[in-house]
């Protein structure tokens, strides 16, 4: 059973309370259509579990097959240093089909982020090691494609549609503690 080797820390991008009984970590690629689909599933999952769920996103760009994945990941990290990680993360997935070199500065503009700084950062690879660290932690943890989910530190092997994830998260929380909101 594959387990998360790098625990969630203050270095991560986290939504939800630190003491939530369930933590869902996603290793994702912004150009991956399966991750694009999972994005809307996660939103519903978060609504369903509310304060019982902590969600963490880590980068796992498949550069050989998704040419814009790396730049998208670095753009989201750039946005993160301006406290707009999640906004950019969401925009990237919502605009996945339009991913291109020109889209990234456009999204930055939309979020009122300094576009010149973004372009400079992408050219210099300022955020490449941050993305690379996520990738390495993913490989070490047994990430086997995108998206790969870990629920309370254990890799979720199976489909990741809404019902599948709800069941898996409820199992992880334990029946006594799960608030069933069906």
């Amino acid at each position: 059973m594959a387990t998360l080797k790098t625990p969630v820390s203050s270095q991560d991008h986290v939504q939800g309370p630190e003491n939530a009984p369930a933590t869902l970590v996603e290793y994702g690629d912004y150009q991956c259509p399966h991750c694009g689909h999972a994005h809307s599933v996660i939103k519903r999952i978060q609504k369903h579990f509310a304060k019982q769920l902590r969600f963490v996103f880590r980068n796992f760009p498949l550069n050989e097959i998704h040419p814009y994945a790396e730049a998208a990941a670095e753009t989201a990290e750039f946005a993160g240093t301006h406290n707009k990680f999640w906004e950019m993360h969401d925009l990237l997935f919502e605009n996945q089909e339009r991913l291109s070199d020109s889209l990234l500065p456009d999204l930055a503009k939309k979020l009122k982020l300094p576009v010149d700084a973004l372009i400079k950062a992408l050219e210099s690879g300022e955020y490449a090691s941050r993305v690379g660290n996520d990738f390495s932690s993913g490989v070490r943890s047994g990430v086997n494609g995108t998206p790969t989910f870990f629920i309370n530190g254990r890799r979720h092997d199976g489909p990741f549609e809404y019902d599948d994830l709800v069941t898996a998260i409820e199992d992880a929380i334990g029946p006594e503690r799960a608030v069933v909101n069906r």
């Binding site: 690629d29 991956c32 796992f60 097959i65 086997n144 494609g145």
Partner: protein, 122 residues
């Protein structure tokens, strides 16, 4: 050497096992290992698959006699006509240093391989 038996080319996921290893290849090489994938698909299928996934390591065709190599490693599924999803790490002397057989539907990832290579390097 890392020898990765996999059932077939063209499984319908982003980042199937071979695509994943393609991304991790620099890590394998840093640890002194080369990677080879092998399935019962023929060379033309492998060529198409390799080009589509932009693979930077060879795929071997265990095609004729079918599954002969897989059989030698004890990982051929007779009834199905494909190999198991089995990994082997082979040391410089040609001995199997580590192996793992994943459930056929589960991509085992690269963590076991990396750990085995690191153990070899010690």
């Amino acid at each position: 050497m890392v020898l990765a038996f996999y059932p077939a080319d063209w499984s319908p996921v982003c980042g199937d096992q071979m695509a994943l290893y393609n991304e991790v290849l620099p890590e394998f090489r840093k640890l002194g290992a080369e990677l080879v994938g092998i399935s019962v698909d023929g060379v033309w299928c492998h060529r198409a698959f390799s080009e589509a996934r932009n693979l930077h390591f060879p795929l071997l065709a265990d095609f004729e006699p079918k599954g002969a190599v897989a059989q030698k490693y004890g990982v051929y599924r007779d009834g199905d006509g494909i190999s198991e999803r089995a990994l082997f790490v082979i040391d410089k002397e040609g001995k199997i240093a580590w192996s793992y057989c994943s459930p056929i539907g589960v991509n085992p990832g690269a963590d076991g391989i990396l750990q085995a290579l690191e153990d070899l390097a010690k």
